[in-house]
């Protein structure tokens, strides 16, 4: 005959184990939740940063070309290379529109536009880039700009401001192809300001936001994160002109 003595947990031990186990699980769960929220927030900010950096780098490169004249350019009327529209209508915020030209070859002139656009069925906005080419065969014989690319340049951009600065450090305005045509040549530095909003809501409660870029300020009350980015560009080719 085999005598077996089986001793497992007592009731007290089991209860203590359950309580400790539950406390541990709760601690793990809340810690995970905190880390997950922080990760989402940082990831969202990282995405905004990365998008803004890529976009502003490309915009800076293109703006440095503004006003470039090809030495064999066929059209003698190349005087339009920089243009800005202030407080574009149709947006809650007084945003700007930027347009500039440069020669790509003796016959091709590139025009690039940057401006905010609304998504379909939404008041949210993105920064759009439109790349066009004008072909010229002889002096004053150029085609209308042919739209080649109309793209979403950066998602969820709320504000886009452009400031032209002259050699005295003062703002130049207006700069356009009409009354402000002569002012194009005064521009020595171009400042670009962007405010980007996170793709997803990352705060648990609504927050009051006031953002000011250049001369424009606006307010928002929601759960999104925002950040502003800026660059200065020295338009080398305009100065040479």
């Amino acid at each position: 005959m085999i005598k077996k003595k089986i001793s497992g947990f007592s009731l007290t031990e089991a209860l203590v184990a359950i309580v400790i186990g539950m406390i541990s699980i709760a601690a793990i769960f809340f810690t995970y939740q905190i880390f997950n929220n922080t990760y989402k927030s940082v990831e969202s900010r990282g995405e905004m940063n990365s998008n803004a950096r890529n976009a502003l780098s490309q915009m800076s490169r293109e703006l440095r070309n503004a006003g470039r004249k090809d030495i064999n350019w066929v059209d003698s009327s190349l005087e339009e290379y920089l243009w800005k529209e202030n407080n574009v209508s149709g947006f809650l915020i007084g945003t700007d529109k930027l347009k500039f030209y440069y020669d790509n070859s003796p016959n091709d002139r590139v025009r690039i536009d940057y401006h905010l656009k609304k998504y379909k069925n939404s008041n949210d906005t993105y920064l759009a880039r439109t790349y066009m080419v004008q072909n010229c065969t002889a002096a004053n014989k150029c085609t209308s700009p042919i739209s080649i690319i109309d793209q979403v340049f950066i998602e969820n951009v709320e504000d886009f401001q452009v400031v032209f600065i002259d050699s005295k450090g003062d703002e130049v305005k207006p700069v356009n192809f009409g009354g402000g045509k002569a002012n194009q040549a005064l521009v020595k530095t171009i400042e670009i300001y962007l405010t980007v909003r996170s793709r997803n809501k990352i705060y648990n409660a609504n927050k009051n936001w006031t953002i000011k870029n250049a001369d424009q300020a606006y307010a928002k009350f929601d759960q999104y994160h925002r950040d502003s980015y800026f660059v200065s560009v020295y338009p080398r080719n305009i100065i040479k002109n």
Partner: protein, 154 residues
């Protein structure tokens, strides 16, 4: 033949020790996660510093004749504007405003401001005697994050 056999389960002490070991492992994983989040956060801050230094560099390039005047830019955390009328003074005041996020972003009625250590966080431009080269030094995060940018202007 009689055999006395005692079959024991896990004692409470053993299970507690086991949980402590698992807890240590969990804390280690959390620390790893915290470090990676911190790294991403630092990368974002460095990106901001890149924007600031590139703005300074471009402004200096745009004003090559006054390059020596920019060498007087030496800031810690006070960022007091000079309110000068020259272009270099206006540009330097603009940098100061941008570096300290002056009136830029207000969240829940509080302006966002960067952390700054007055002893270690230096933002400085130095130039050579001929006024042809410039160097931007930008230290943040108690001097640990260092950004240097060299320029040949002329």
């Amino acid at each position: 033949m009689n055999k006395n056999k005692t079959i024991k389960g896990i004692s409470i002490i053993e299970s507690l020790v086991c949980m402590v070991i698992i807890g240590i492992g969990f804390i280690a994983i959390m620390q790893l996660s915290a470090f990676s989040i911190g790294s991403m956060s630092r990368a974002i801050e460095k990106n901001k510093v890149n924007f600031l230094t590139e703005m300074m560099m471009e402004d200096v390039i745009a004003d090559p004749d006054q390059i020596k005047e920019y060498s007087k830019f030496n800031e810690r955390c006070s960022y007091n504007p000079n309110n000068g009328s020259n272009v270099y003074e206006k540009q330097k005041d603009k940098w100061r405003k941008r570096i300290k996020y002056e009136n830029q972003i207000k969240i829940s009625n509080k302006y966002k401001t960067p952390r700054c250590d007055a002893n270690k966080d230096i933002k400085k431009i130095s130039t050579d005697a001929a006024g042809e080269k410039a160097r931007i030094k930008f230290l943040t995060n108690k001097g640990k994050s260092k950004k240097y940018l060299g320029l040949v202007i002329k």
